[in-house]
Amino acid sequence: MAYHTDIQISICGSAGDGTIAVGDIFKRAMAHVGYRVIAFDQYPAEIRGFGKCIARTRVATSRVYSMKGYSDVLVSLNDMHAIPHVGEVRNYGALIYDSAPMSAVAEGAHISGHLKPGHIPYALPMREVSELATGANRSRNFVALGFVAGLYQLPQDAFHHAIAAKFESKAAAVTKSALAAFDSGFEAGAASYQFDDVRIDAPRGRKNAHEARMMTGNGAIVQGCLDAGIETFFGYPITPATGIMERLAVEMPRRGARLVQTEDEIAAISAAIGAGYAGSRAATATSGPGLSLMTEMMGLGVMAEVPVVIFVSQRGGPSTGLPTKTEQSDLNLAVWGGHGDAGRIVLAPTNVEGCRRCAGRAFELAEQFQVPVIVLVDLYLSNRYETVFLQDENEFLPKDWKQTATPRAGYRRYELTTDGVSPRCIPGEVGGIHTATGLEHDEYGNPSDSARTHTLMTEKRYEKLQAAIKHPGINFTKRFGDSGKVEVGLLTWGSTFGEALEAMLLAQKEGIRCAATKVVMLSPFPVRPVLRFYKDCQQILVPELNYTGQFAKLLSGEIVLPVTRISHTTGAPLDVSTLLEAIRKAARKHRRQHNTT
């Protein structure tokens, strides 16, 4: 087996140190020359002050699915913040820090006193180098970045390119001093002897390396919306969904599409449903608190059978919770939220490419089934960067793909059909006049509280959704790993699937027969394939980022079979090694019970 590069570099500093900025340049440069990159930054919860920033980037020569639970290289721009993370660095990994930090430090506050045996230290006079190169100490971050690039012999011009691109809109002097600082750092790095065993091989030739794009989950959602020809968007800012609206606010008007920031989330979903009713490809985006407010109106969408797409990026809860931390605790809300039997479609992509695909498909599903569709991600996926290769940019069906009604006298907007989907007319069409309502109604849309009507219409609203799990272009579930019977199966959803997959791959290497299935469509629930997978596994682990095991309970409610929950509520993604340990334990238990080796 050829040697694979797979390293993770973490840069840690204080707000104002330019930590996130150089992390960004690092990942862009590496992606540009053909590495697969995945990156996740951590911001402070406060707007200002000197909160901790960490830019973590994983760089590999083949595809990777999650962040690593440890770092190969840690760069400290601020020792106070970096010290708690020293333990993350693996044996023979590198620690790069300022040998003479800016402010005088109390005893024990210098990072050098916290290194573990096996850590390889590189003490670099960042401040001095910056001052020498640029006349100011402001560019310590670029010095450190240059050092990393020099030390590991990374292609210097890719970095030059990325720096120039970053400061495109800034004054030339800004670019110049960043480049100067970078180059000085690079020299210092190249001149250093590399004691650590971190190796960064040249990327394997990929023809379309230059087609690789760095994208976050939110960015991919925006791309999906644009590729699907979104026409109207109504939203209200909320972390971590705001980025979707901010990007769309730039891109939509360029395409003649319309975006309005509304007065609140209730108005956002109301307007989106109004627009959907009027025949527009309409969407909104929010997080848990906003979705809580939207559920009444979403129920109107279900009852009046209006297509609309709702992007939801989860953060730590309940209530205002942890706005800058990740969690998967809005599943119940997405699947059941609101009163009454209000069936909807819920898609949960597991990676950045999936975000784009689900976003585009959501519009198709909403139109085909005349129903609100939720695309459910979380902060980790919203903000995570991955290299993606978009080859099929315009593959989504245009909105007129779905035949609507041939208008005629006696038109029945809610006609009872065999598949539950009624031919739809929109305002402006002659012969299609009807009144949509949140009241129970007959086939014409007239309010009716007759027992028979309610029973039939309730059935209709659920039955029509059953076909959603057959929609082409969406893997409503997908299995990875060993085929056939396995010792351990991982069944999971959303962003956590990356960690599950990585853990499974490691477990396979240890000789454990295992497989992992992601469930992308959470409602309607794809009972059959999940059940099939279940039957193949001796033990089923369900890892997720919430306390009550929301997916596990959804599962048990649907397939009525026991699973082992792995719940995690720290605000951070799951750790691959924790998962691996859980797989080992499950395998041991299974082997003990079955007396196999």
């Binding site: 319309r258 209730i266 627009a275 959907g276 109107l300 305002p427 006049i433 009144t435 949140g438």
Partner: protein, 292 residues
Amino acid sequence: MIPQQPVYLEDKVDEIRQSGRLDYRSQALPTWCPGCGYYSVTEGLADALNDLQIQKENTVIVSGIGCASRFPFFMDTYGFHTLHGRALPVATGIKVANEKLTVVAIGGDGDGFAIGGGHIPHAARRNVNITYILFDNGIYGLTKGQVSPTSAIGFTTSTSPFENRDTPLNPLLMLLSYGASWVGQTYAGWPHHLAGLVRQALEHPGFSYLHVLSPCVTFDKTDRTYQNLDLAVRELDSDHDSSDLALAMQAATDTSTPALGLYYTSQRETLGQALDQVALRAGAAAESASLG
């Protein structure tokens, strides 16, 4: 004096039918109580749509929940009977999606000024090119008679059994303070006045707010009755200058003898026009970026 011509019912019906206004009425008979003020508005809107020759297929009537909000079912136009308080944001979405539609939002005083009160300022300031007709009966009709934000002090209802003491809101003054570009008031007991103002409201390019004083004959036997309103209402002063905001606000301040008519009107960019301008600027920005 010319002797009055006798009127024959059949001729009258024929005349109405030929006028075309019945085309805007659905087959459904309104389920309102006999005598409810809301009937006038139905007539007024049908008249106005007909006068303006707005196609019924291009008309969407959007309402919230309440007796007033039952309105769309009684009209043969597109309709959306939404949720309590949400007529305006839904109507905004419809208009943003398709500027060609004539969008009329309808609601009651509770729907508009209690649960829906947060949406009005924004529809008004953005100048969404729709007409909002608010039926103010000073009570919650559909839920059988609770106090409303426009109920008078001293009014006894099922939830103010010892008399209401909350100062009622002043919808006209509020709308004026929100920057609504057309604000008028009419009365269900003056059907011709009503029809005329509905028409003007529809014609206004921008957000028009029409306040309709309307008795709830079932749950209000004492306060906002036809008898009391007949005596209280009057027309706006004949020299009222509807381009003068200060004057309009002053007129709105007198709530004991409510003046009917057009309080205020002005013209400015609508939300639709603003969005078009944004698209233009964005296109230009994109172009200069691609040239650069």
